[in-house]
């Protein structure tokens, strides 16, 4: 009982398959076969700038100290000079950097430390008020000591180490050694990523000012003389890159104590850095 397929049936099947293939091909959105399609633009609306500085996650502040901040081991460098202020300074540090970059954090530490003062008023009432006033954690005794040390050390080292490099320049007469200055410059240049590829960025010279606490952390804001708020986006981006270098290089744990508390002004010379690249 063999049933022979009629030629008509075969032709119908082939025809149906061919039609289906054509219809299918027409339905597939072949990317290279779309003819004469006008490239219409669908609008994208910028609704608004969403609020800046959202709240930190509840767990954020708890976890941060454990992850990033590892300067504690270097604190002993300062221990001989000023033990008390050191204890006072590290506490405000993490908060200002995570919560808000503005000076707002500075006042916070004072109230926080007030209760302990009340708890032990008899122990050292004269000593307490002094560190409380110093928002940036300056310890005058330690600085005075360190100044003496630096003066003597620079006097002894200065004659033997000519400050040939420009980055080792000391314009203030603070008595800081050229080697230390070079060390600081090297720390910063390892972290400074100047914007060499963008026209105009090479011509921007950024002067950044900051202070260090006794454990080498940045105290307060790193400022670029207003360049970080410039209306020229190239200048602003250049200033932010310089500021980022300072934060990235911190904590400066290998610097001599002369650096702690003094205003440090770093001039980032993009023209030179980009020319050498």
């Amino acid at each position: 009982m063999r049933r022979e397929r009629s030629p008509l049936t075969t032709a119908l099947i082939v025809s149906a398959i061919a039609h289906a293939a054509v219809i299918g091909a027409a339905l597939i959105p072949w990317p290279w076969a779309r003819e004469l399609k006008v490239g219409a633009v669908v609008p994208v609306n910028i609704v608004s700038n969403i609020p800046a500085n959202p709240r930190p996650a509840v767990e954020g502040p708890l976890e941060q100290p454990a992850q990033t901040e590892s300067p504690e081991p270097d604190a002993p460098l300062e221990a001989p000079a000023a033990a008390q202020p050191e204890l006072a300074e590290p506490q405000p540090q993490p908060q200002p950097k995570t919560q808000a970059p503005r000076p707002a954090p500075a006042p916070k530490p004072a109230p926080e430390k007030a209760p302990p003062k009340k708890a032990e008023p008899a122990k050292s009432p004269p000593a307490r008020p002094t560190p409380a006033k110093k928002e940036s954690g300056l310890d005058l005794d330690a600085l005075a000591d360190s100044l003496k040390g630096s003066q003597s050390s620079s006097a002894s080292k200065g004659r033997n180490r000519p400050e040939t490099a420009r980055e080792a320049r000391n314009t203030s007469g603070s008595g800081v050694s050229g080697a230390a200055m070079s060390g600081l410059a090297e720390e910063l240049q390892r972290r400074w990523n100047p914007n060499c590829e963008v026209d105009g960025a090479r011509d921007v010279r950024v002067r950044v000012t900051f202070r260090l606490s006794s454990d080498g952390r940045v105290v307060g804001d790193v400022e670029a003389g207003g360049q970080e708020r410039s209306s020229d986006p190239v200048v602003r981006a250049a200033a932010e890159r310089a500021i980022r270098a300072v934060y990235g290089a911190a904590p400066f744990t290998t610097l001599p104590r002369e650096f702690y508390g003094a205003p440090i002004v770093v001039s980032f010379n993009a023209a030179q850095a980009c020319a050498d690249n």
Partner: protein
């Protein structure tokens, strides 16, 4: 007496504190003259929500392709599942040396409306640099990603972005003898390619208006050549008019109000200009030589063009009314296809010298010539709207032409993300 001694003691104490404090505040100045010059390490984790991963991928690819950023591999991320409502854990991002972080959130409402929020963070300064919200239709998510890319690029470099743009070009197919040249358009990242002509005639030299989504191009048919204006938004297509002889090499003025082009008649080619409002045209050059490839300066006051009036093809500049013609290229070799940059700072060109072709730039006075590329055949540069990147076509011996990009430093040369054969690209302005 006791009061006096007390006062003296206080004064002494004040002075002694002052004596210590003054030197302690002495300023320390340091010069940093070297840096770690490298593409900026940036982290772009997948945005939350539908399409979030794809949007992050488009941003990552855009930034990486610019050569100014080094996106960090997502496998290295420590903090996962960021929530845009909270600050990221900066320590985690510092650990992987991300200098910047982009996180975001995507939502689509029942009507299909897409909303994308994103934030850009400075990881080391631990502060937000940017926070924006975009809305569009859900199928338009790629454009949202391009807009975010532009915002991030501008904030971190100070330079306008160029990612939310498109490129028209000549798509080539077939062999050398039966080659089909069709007008095509794609996003700058190669996505959404489509043809604008059917291949029944040859198209050449498409050029974008720098102010609108309008192009002009030359169409070559057996009966002759004509110049078209084509509005991509409306689909309206019209010819520039009928001219005796062959017309070619059209280009808009920067305000879009005029088109300059070449007309060849009896072996002499001159540059003409047409006012698109009045449709009146005038001839700008009248030299018995080939004057072609006109390109307006951004202020519209000058035109650079190519001429062999000096014996070989060189680059010239003239005032927009045709006066004050002066040659600006004096190097060896042949200079062609000059294109004024959107910033006005440079003129890009094709140079043929010693059997090789180059894409180069020079200042409008002819100074500071720099060759950015070198190959068997590089030609036809077009500027990205920010004036930092050029696209051109490159051909290898026996191979089809491909689209490539190079930045103005010449350091970042790479194939454009378009896998097919293409030539004669023209970059659009930023989309609105």
């Amino acid at each position: 007496m006791r009061l006096k001694s007390l006062f003296a003691a206080i004064l002494a104490a004040v002075l002694s504190v002052g004596a210590f404090a003054l030197p302690a505040r002495a300023q320390i100045e340091v010069d940093v003259n070297r840096g770690d010059v490298q593409p900026l390490p940036i982290a772009v984790p997948a945005f939350r929500g539908d399409r979030g991963a794809e949007i992050a991928q488009v941003i990552t690819s855009n930034l990486e392709r610019s050569g100014l950023f080094r996106p960090i591999d997502q496998a290295a991320f420590i903090e996962r599942d960021l929530d845009i409502r909270y600050q990221p854990r900066f320590g985690d991002w510092k650990t992987i040396n991300a200098q910047a972080l982009v996180n975001g959130e995507v939502s689509v409402d029942p009507t299909g409306r897409l909303t994308v929020n994103f934030r850009l963070w400075d990881v080391f300064a631990e502060q937000q640099l940017l926070g924006m919200q975009f809305t569009s239709t859900s199928e338009n998510w790629r454009r949202v990603a391009h807009k975010i890319s532009d915002a991030v690029y501008e904030r971190l470099t100070g330079e306008k972005g160029y990612f939310d743009t498109r490129v028209v070009f000549v798509a080539e197919s077939g062999g050398r003898i039966d080659r089909v040249k069709r007008l095509a358009i794609m996003d700058q990242d190669g996505a959404n390619p489509s043809y604008l002509t059917d291949g029944s005639y040859i198209v050449m030299t498409p050029r974008f208006s720098s102010t609108s989504q309008e192009i002009t191009y030359m169409a070559l048919r057996p009966e002759g050549s004509s110049i078209y204006l084509f509005n991509l938004e409306t689909g309206r297509r019209e010819t520039l008019g009928n001219f005796p002889g062959m017309v070619f090499a059209p280009r808009f003025s920067h305000d879009g109000g005029k088109v300059a082009f070449s007309v060849e008649r009896s072996g002499n080619t001159d540059i003409h200009v047409m006012d698109l409002r009045s449709r009146s045209s005038s001839r700008l050059t009248a030299d018995p030589s080939i004057d072609t490839s006109p390109s307006f300066s951004p202020d519209g006051a000058q035109i650079t063009f190519n001429s062999d009036r000096g014996g070989s093809p060189q680059i010239y500049v003239m005032n927009a009314d045709g006066s004050g013609v002066r040659r600006i290229s004096f190097g060896s070799g042949r200079y062609m296809t000059p294109v004024w940059s959107p910033t006005g700072e440079y003129i890009a060109f094709t140079k043929q010298e010693g059997g090789r072709f180059h894409i180069g730039i020079m200042r409008p006075d002819g100074s500071g010539e720099r060759l950015l590329t070198s190959s068997y055949l590089d030609e036809g540069p077009t500027w990205a709207p920010n004036g930092r990147v050029l696209m051109f076509s490159r051909e290898t011996p026996g191979g089809p032409p491909r689209l490539w990009t190079v930045d103005v430093t010449g350091r970042i040369v790479r194939p454009a993300p378009y896998p097919q054969s293409g030539s004669d690209p023209a970059w659009s302005p930023l989309l609105n």
